[in-house]
Symmetry: C2
Subunit: 344 residues, 2 copies
């Protein structure tokens, strides 16, 4: 099954509103980047690779929507659009990578000796965005193929947050490995952490694993340690939002704790992510900016108040797992033992 969390249709971006899952599969059609920026901020669209695809399509939308008759005017429109797309989420590097690639396309085509006419320029930009989308799907499948070699019959794998088809243009990163292993007929089970506060594990990962008939069991985040020990977890596989040159990896808050637990229990800890997640400009995890989100996420769940309304809150969206706690990084080009990883 290929679920399309995002697609381009009749000059619109169509995407799943992931905040409505698992209750409702609702698609939003979006014709301007205001709606898109808001959707990314509110996590209707989330997951580092999917954010990359979304902003590329957003960039194309801004180009198509540009009413300017001059290249210079269009450049101004795109610079503005790009700045707003960049301001949505600070941690996922794929966002900056995708926007840079879109910028490069614009500037390269613009500066070619025989400048494209406006329409042809817009087409070239859209084509690039659609390439990013298509490549993302292909990358995910390659990650699945590479990572599936690590899955053995009888494995019980723990995953955190959602590194699935819903986090990408399709298939997923960490979860792509499960889909591929299942296709190969391997027998294994998965435990999924709830992943507070936004519950991407229970809302999204459980939803897509069940849709794909993977044997999955839901636990709360504070059950991970007991589950690893008492249920015999054999490995942990998660995604990443940004990886430094030395292999330190930023991922959803909670990942670092799982890596410590893996170490303590002597089981391998894998990161699965496309190579676009690797930020070669960053030497170590210390330089990765960590987004802090609104306190309200810890005060309410839906309409239910779960903490005193004036409670002081610390709400980081990500943490950094040091390379020394990671066994290997799985990308579309292979499985890299962390000891040999140098920002491949």
């Amino acid at each position: 099954m290929l679920l399309e969390p995002i697609r381009w249709q009749k000059n619109r971006i169509v995407f799943i509103d992931q905040t409505e899952l698992p209750g409702r599969l609702k698609y939003i059609r979006c014709r301007d980047i205001d709606v898109l920026c808001e959707a990314i901020k509110k996590l209707k669209i989330r997951g580092a690779p999917l954010i990359g695809v979304a902003v590329a399509l957003g960039y194309a939308l801004a180009a198509l929507n540009s009413k300017s008759r001059t290249i210079k005017g269009m450049e101004n429109d795109l610079v503005r659009a790009s700045a707003r797309l960049k301001a949505t989420r600070p941690t996922a590097v794929n966002l900056f990578w995708a926007l840079k690639r879109m910028d490069d396309t614009f500037f390269c085509k613009r500066e070619s000796p025989r400048p494209f006419a406006m329409t042809r320029l817009k087409k070239a930009i859209l084509k690039e965005a659609l390439s990013i989308l298509k490549e993302d799907r292909e990358m995910c499948r390659a990650i699945g193929r590479n990572g599936s070699r690590l899955i053995k019959n009888g494995d019980i794998v723990l995953t955190h947050c959602n590194a699935g088809m819903l986090a990408t243009a399709g298939y997923g990163t960490a979860l792509s490995i499960f889909y591929e292993a299942k296709k190969q007929g391997k027998r294994f089970r998965v435990y999924a952490d709830e992943t507070r506060p936004l519950m991407q594990g229970s809302r999204l990962t459980m939803w897509e694993l069940m849709k794909n008939r993977i044997d999955a069991t839901l636990i709360c985040d504070d059950m991970s340690a007991a589950t690893i020990r008492d249920k015999g977890i054999t490995k942990i596989i998660v995604g990443a939002d940004r990886i430094a040159r030395n292999g330190d990896a930023a991922n959803k808050i909670g990942t670092y704790g799982l890596a410590v637990l893996a170490k303590y229990h002597g089981i391998p800890f894998y990161i699965a992510a496309p190579s676009s997640t690797i930020d070669r400009n960053i030497a170590t995890g210390k330089d990765i900016p960590i987004e802090e989100r609104k306190r309200e996420e810890l005060i309410y769940v839906g309409s239910k108040q779960t903490a005193p309304s004036k409670a002081k809150v610390y709400n980081p969206a990500f943490d950094v797992t040091p390379a020394k706690l990671i066994t290997a990084i799985i990308t579309e080009s292979g499985v890299y033992d962390i000891k040999k990883f140098r920002g491949v």
Copy 2:
């Protein structure tokens, strides 16, 4: 401030419905043990020491309510009541300890050479239950005094679940230490884990720490590891529901993971609990029964659906922390280095 989560008033048990916190401070008056058993099962009353006090008062209520005119008939009523109270929660040993003490009172008074008249027997039973309540408060204060010696100016302490006044007849166990240290003028800060799925940390611990003007910050359970590292947590203090002779301790699910994190980060990990929590009949944590709770707790928060309705769920309410990960156990009689702990 002394908050009374439970009290005896005009032949009724009056208790706070803790499932209504932090939104509403609602007291329930209860005149029969049906209401009490349901309240314990539904966690309106929770916390190992408070459950002990509650079942003792429940036993007294059953005695007072007994319409039997013979000692034998009353014994039958009490045996029935006791069995129902025992069936509410399987892990907290204080429940069994309190009921045994109530049984001993009944059988001892009953078998005395000059048998008490029924009314005097009922009075003796009630007196014993009220002693258990009073002793619990005194024990909590003593735990606070003993544990407060461990708190230093500048400490940043992490706690899990609710080992506070709401978990006892007053003052609390782990949190009693904070109240006493604050009274002594020590400067320190506290981080409280949310504690999924029932959020005793965010709903109850934050509520009572704020009421007592302790500098407290709320985090989700999956933020513990990053908070320990990035915010410089200096120690972890939690309660316990049952402690084996060798020092292995069952406490709210998530405790074991925190103990592993404490070990990894080189900070001390303390258990604070009254000595009635120590089960001398149990050699190691392996023999402590662990309650598994309903799957619905992970599917909904209030009316908000947070996981697919058919999701498979693992929902243990407790985990066992091995003695080797515990620095010391703080009881009303002292602070016991785990190496010297032999079920003191």
